[in-house]
């Protein structure tokens, strides 16, 4: 799916005033099948951007075109159909605690299932080999019949990723897919995600805190800082200075404040330890 935005602006989900902005002035173009990582400090508006691209939130102004169509001009039925062709994976896996992994994973396929088939699948899961294969990509095949609340945080996150594989979507919007994974799993999960997206020809847009992983696995990186586009470059062209500027903790703000209070400016954050949590 192709994404085109121009001067896109949106509010936070829980906004308090009319001029609250999660991000503004974003103009991007992401081609079909491209793989992009979005990086930036906390509060930069990355999650809100994914939600707007997923048509889960209406932008305040600006234009958003998915495959050349403005989703908010479509009829409700057409919008629902469009939503079935994209997949938003939130940072906290949206899995009901007592559901079994097999049902949670197969739920990704609901947009293609009739009402009767989906209800029948609750009793007798409809595609056991498919669910197993998706879980196997993330090294979780043996947890097929486990209950979600019996899994660790990292395992639940991988179930959320396996659900992405099961969906019929051509646009994958993944929010922080690695936040609960231990370092040994990071590589494997990201590898599986990127390879599956390539096999399916799906457009993959991911937000990441792990900058080195973003640079290693994604050909294109977008930097977001305080709701504005910092850079949009091929990963080979991202300089340490650009990263420094991106993650610097509001030094100019501290400068002005410090000038009146005599406080020192903050030091810039080192690039290699990018786990901003």
């Amino acid at each position: 799916m192709k994404i085109q935005t121009r001067d896109l602006e949106a509010r936070h989900r829980a906004f308090r005033s009319a001029d609250d902005r999660a991000f503004e002035g974003l103009s991007l173009e992401i081609g079909a099948g491209e793989q992009v990582a979005i990086i930036g400090p906390s509060g930069a508006g990355k999650t809100t951007l994914l939600e707007v691209l997923a048509c889960a939130m209406k932008p305040v102004s600006g234009s958003l075109l998915l495959d050349g169509r403005d989703p908010w001009q479509l009829s409700t039925a057409e919008l629902q159909r469009l939503r079935g062709t994209l997949f938003l994976a939130p940072q906290v896996p949206p899995l009901p605690p007592r559901q079994r992994v097999v049902t949670a994973v197969l739920a990704g396929r609901l947009p293609t299932m009739s009402l009767l088939a989906s209800l029948r699948s609750l009793l007798v899961p409809s595609d056991l080999p498919g669910a197993r294969a998706a879980l196997e990509r993330f090294d979780l095949a043996e947890k097929l019949f486990e209950r979600v609340d019996r899994l660790s945080g990292g395992e639940r996150q991988r179930v959320g990723l396996a659900r992405t594989l099961m969906s019929p979507a051509s646009l994958w919007l993944i929010d922080e897919p690695l936040s609960s994974l231990d370092p040994a799993r990071l590589q494997q999960a990201l590898q599986a995600l990127v390879e599956s997206a390539r096999e399916r020809g799906a457009t993959l847009v991911t937000t990441l805190h792990q900058v080195d992983a973003a640079l290693a696995f994604f050909p294109r990186v977008i930097g977001l800082r305080k709701g504005k586009l910092a850079f949009d470059l091929p990963s080979a062209a991202v300089t340490p200075q650009a990263l420094n500027d991106l993650y610097e903790t509001s030094s100019d703000e501290a400068h002005n404040a410090g000038a009146s209070r005599g406080l020192p400016a903050h030091a810039s954050v080192s690039i290699t330890t990018m786990h901003c949590r």
Binding site: R100, V102, L123, V124, P125, L128, P129, R132, A141, E142, L144, F145
Partner: protein, 274 residues
């Protein structure tokens, strides 16, 4: 674990079994309760229903009747309040005895035989009181003390003693025993311990449950009226036996209003306590 195409869902067998078992059990249940929903739509039943519902409108609003309704409403509320007060008076000492938190012998390890047996006995009495529906008590008491609110008050008081007593005991036992044990160890009497250690912590929960039960008691009072305990329930029974639909309608509305009021009052009191 299986590989390839032959993956079996371990839950399918038990699910199918449960569904079959449920269906097998459903049939005798339907038979035992003479479940015939189509009977509701038979000609004479529909006619009777329509006639009865039709007599609801216009509702009875003659001043004499309304005065009677007002008097009986007050009677119902008074019955419930008196009953709950009696139940409180009985339940509090029983629950204090039954609560293990106040056990002196348990301070130094396990409880000794006699206090343990006494506690078990009181538990049993409370469970017994709470298992017998108040209507049954009312039926029996009406034979002993005659028709009227006395039978109703006694019946509700007994059943609710069981309910209040059991829940009070549970509330007392679920508090952290640290404070009470400390006081008991330094020689305070059990009553003192209750007032200084247990009551401050549990008061809100105790009062909240009691107020909720007061609301239930109002509904019980109406039900008991059907067996002769007076109040709104008795008037409703009388009116229904005479097929006076208009009066039944007024009584129902008044009753629903009363329950709503009691609900609001109880919510307010509980909010004040928090």
């Amino acid at each position: 674990m299986d590989r390839g195409e032959s993956i079996r869902d371990p839950a399918t067998a038990s699910r199918l079994f449960l569904i079959l078992a449920g269906l097998v059990l459903l049939w005798p249940l339907l038979k035992a309760t003479e479940f015939r929903p189509w009977a509701l739509f038979e000609a004479d039943s529909v006619q009777a229903t329509v006639r009865f519902l039709g007599s609801f409108w216009p509702i009875a609003v003659e001043p004499d009747f309304l005065r009677l309704v007002a008097r009986e409403t007050w009677r119902t509320v008074a019955m419930a309040t008196a009953a709950i007060s009696l139940a409180l008076v009985l339940a509090i000492p029983l629950s204090l005895i039954a609560a293990r938190v106040l056990s002196l012998s348990a301070l130094t390890g396990t409880m000794s035989r006699v206090p343990f047996l006494i506690r078990r006995l009181i538990h049993g009495v409370l469970i017994l009181l709470r298992s017998i529906p108040e209507l049954v008590w009312a039926l029996v008491f009406v034979r002993v003390v005659g028709l009227g609110p006395t039978a109703g008050v006694l019946a509700i008081a007994l059943t609710y003693t069981g309910m209040l007593g059991k829940v009070y005991t549970e509330i007392l036992e679920s508090t952290d025993p640290h404070a009470s044990r400390a006081l008991l160890r330094t020689g305070s009497s059990r009553t003192q311990t209750f007032f200084y250690a247990l009551l401050p912590t549990c008061a809100a929960e105790l009062i909240s449950y009691t107020v909720y039960r007061w609301e239930c008691a109002i509904r019980s009072s109406v039900v008991l009226g059907f067996v002769g305990a007076g109040g709104l329930g008795q008037e409703m029974d009388n009116s229904m036996k005479m097929f006076a639909g208009a009066e039944v309608a007024t009584l129902l509305l008044v009753f629903i209003g009363l329950v709503a009021l009691a609900d609001r009052a109880s919510a307010t009191i509980r909010r004040i306590i928090e």
